[in-house]
């Protein structure tokens, strides 16, 4: 029982000046965030005749889905979508698998001390433009240009700092006693990791996987340079709209919607782990 009753930190006024400022600021910012989404959705269902109207058509009288069909087939959005799904999924599996092993080793054995873990982390901040050209030449030599496999390898390497450091942070805050008990019980070290530690770390693995997937799903630069007609991903299709005409507004918007819906849904599912994911585990969310 508490002897001292603590004073309330802040009085809850009905509509104090503070609350008014807070509401106005949040309201304005939400409008700023949401307006572009509204405009994109509306543009994606407008008939072509509505594009060149002043004042702009805020809501089309005859919504149409034709832009989605054109975007999917004429602009090969469907092929890009399939490539994006395949490449992002494969890279996520590979990156999270290797990153988990590495993170476990860092957390339990302090492998390579701080040097190795910071070396891995520093890859996260490497400017892509510094490595893309040699990778491009290497891939040309190996015949990996414009292949899904080549892109998977690049994405795996690029997301390893993320998955390894997220799992590093996760294992570090997990007590090691259970694994030690498993070793005493005759498990091999591998068994202690695979059958004891990993199931306990599953929430962390899922979070790392989702952030890795979103990274691959939204990546543009490497896909732009390393793919062309076959392995191109969804984001690279947007280069086709450069200097675009009013006639392709609808297709651009439709593709934007197709691209952003999956990653937004996934992102919301791991909202709890957001801070950890954004800072590679440096901050506990």
């Amino acid at each position: 029982m508490r002897a001292v009753r603590r004073p309330r930190a802040r009085r809850q006024g009905a509509l104090s000046f503070d609350n008014l400022v807070r509401i106005v600021y949040l309201g304005l910012f939400l409008a700023f965030l949401l307006a572009p989404f509204y405009w994109t959705v509306i543009t994606s269902i407008k008939p072509i005749d509505d594009f060149m109207n002043i004042p702009p058509v805020w809501f089309p009288e005859q919504p149409t889905l034709i832009h989605y069909r054109v975007a999917m087939f004429t602009y090969r959005g469907l092929d890009g979508l399939i490539n994006s799904v395949v490449v992002s999924t494969a890279a996520t599996v590979l990156s999270v698998l290797l990153g988990t092993l590495m993170g476990y080793s860092f957390a339990r054995f302090n492998t390579g001390g701080q040097h190795l873990s910071f070396w891995v982390l520093s890859q996260r901040f490497l400017p892509p433009v510094a490595v893309v050209l040699p990778v491009f030449l290497l891939y040309r030599y190996l015949g990996l240009n414009d292949t899904r496999f080549g892109l998977v390898l690049v994405y795996t390497v690029m997301t390893l700092p993320l998955s390894a450091w997220m799992m590093f942070a996760y294992f570090r805050q997990m007590p090691a006693e259970l694994e030690e008990a498993a070793l005493v019980d005759g498990y091999s070290r591998w068994g202690a990791l695979w059958r004891v530690a990993l199931p306990l770390a599953l929430p962390g693995v899922v979070a790392a996987a989702v952030f890795t997937f979103i990274f691959c799903w939204t990546e543009f630069f490497f896909a732009l340079i390393l793919t062309s007609r076959h392995a191109f991903t969804l984001p690279t299709i947007f280069r086709g709209f450069l200097g675009f005409q009013a006639s392709s507004y609808g297709e651009a918007s439709a593709l934007a919607i197709v691209s952003l819906v999956p990653s937004i849904i996934l992102g919301m599912l791991v909202q709890r782990h957001l801070v950890r994911g954004l800072t590679l585990g440096a901050v506990r969310g």
Binding site: Y25, F118, G186, W190, E219, S259
Partner: protein, 310 residues
């Protein structure tokens, strides 16, 4: 080591003890690190080493042969006015974006402390831009800002009368447009991390301050800010190190133009290497950029990510 299958009557899992598994157990920690380390070596370290060679030879798709040219590639970059300008543009765009995102994000974080009705939904909306591809962000903002059919231009015309401003090509509006798109996407990043900082400040500190009659402003300045400084540094550093790589929204919104006026360093190196095919020059430039970035990383990241902050 004794190989008993029972201890005190408990049946233990049978352990395969071969030469391999003993070796594997002894080198376990390195075996775990090896696959990831090998991949990183193959796809970032090997290319970097290889590119040292590219930087010092003639490597141009228009000129045959790979003759050693010494520092000529580096000279080409350093003397190129477009390169220098692109570095300045990168600095201006990244610093102004990061500063504005920090201020707006801090405001959001402070507005979202405590509990109130609808907080969960607002939280969900606020984090959405983080999951959108930067290319899509650029595409969406191009649609909004384009003239004369875009909604933004129409609203401005209605409010302030007809304008001749072209939001994506005019000076200084093209820079402002790029910054706005960047702010739209990354303010949530600052917000999320700063909110984590604000909620971790012990309420006792505020209670003590209130009992002592400290003003709100002083409380913010002397308690809140010092308490969340580590997280401010992390948020700003992470954001800044990404902001200097700005490429995607440039590519979509301005294409570096008009002319070369919105080239960032990444965009300049891309153009030089992959559009004009001066690969030696682009590689030399990317090494200079890499060294600049590495210096920043050394200063900022090592200091921040000590295990204590975790």
């Amino acid at each position: 080591m004794a190989r008993t299958d029972t201890v005190d009557g408990f049946v233990l899992p049978r352990r395969r003890v071969g030469a391999w598994s003993i070796w594997a157990d002894r080198h376990f920690r390195w075996l775990l690190v090896a696959p990831a380390a090998v991949l990183i070596l193959a796809l970032t370290i090997y290319p970097l080493v290889y590119s040292v060679w590219v930087a010092f030879v003639n490597f141009d798709f228009q000129i045959p042969g790979h003759a050693f040219v010494g520092l000529q590639n580096f000279e080409h970059v350093v003397e190129d006015p477009i390169a220098r300008r692109s570095l300045l543009t990168t600095a201006i765009l990244s610093v102004s974006s990061v500063v504005l995102e920090f201020l707006l994000g801090l405001g959001l974080a402070m507005s979202m402390t405590g509990t109130f009705r609808g907080r969960g939904v607002i939280m969900l909306i606020l984090i959405v831009p983080l999951f959108v591809s930067p290319v899509v962000v650029g595409q969406i903002w191009s649609l909004i800002l384009q003239r004369p059919y875009g909604p933004f231009d129409y609203l401005v015309t209605q409010l302030f009368g007809p304008t001749e401003i072209s939001w994506l090509t005019g000076n200084p509006w093209k820079y402002i447009s790029l910054i706005v798109a960047d702010i739209w996407q990354w303010t949530p990043f600052m917000f999320v991390i700063l909110l984590a900082g604000l909620t971790s400040v012990s309420p006792e500190l505020y209670e003590a301050a209130e009992l002592d009659g400290v003003s709100r402003w002083q409380t913010f300045w002397n308690i809140t800010l010092p308490q969340i400084t580590p997280l401010i540094l992390i948020a700003v550093t992470f954001r800044f190190l990404d902001a200097i790589k700005l490429f995607d929204i440039i590519f979509i919104m301005t294409g570096g133009g008009p002319g070369t006026s919105t080239y960032t360093t990444s965009f300049y190196l891309y153009q030089t290497g992959f559009q004009n095919f001066h690969l030696g020059q682009a590689t030399a430039g990317s090494w200079l950029f890499l060294i600049l970035t590495a210096v920043l990383i050394m200063f900022l990241v090592r200091r921040l990510l000590r295990p204590e902050t975790a």
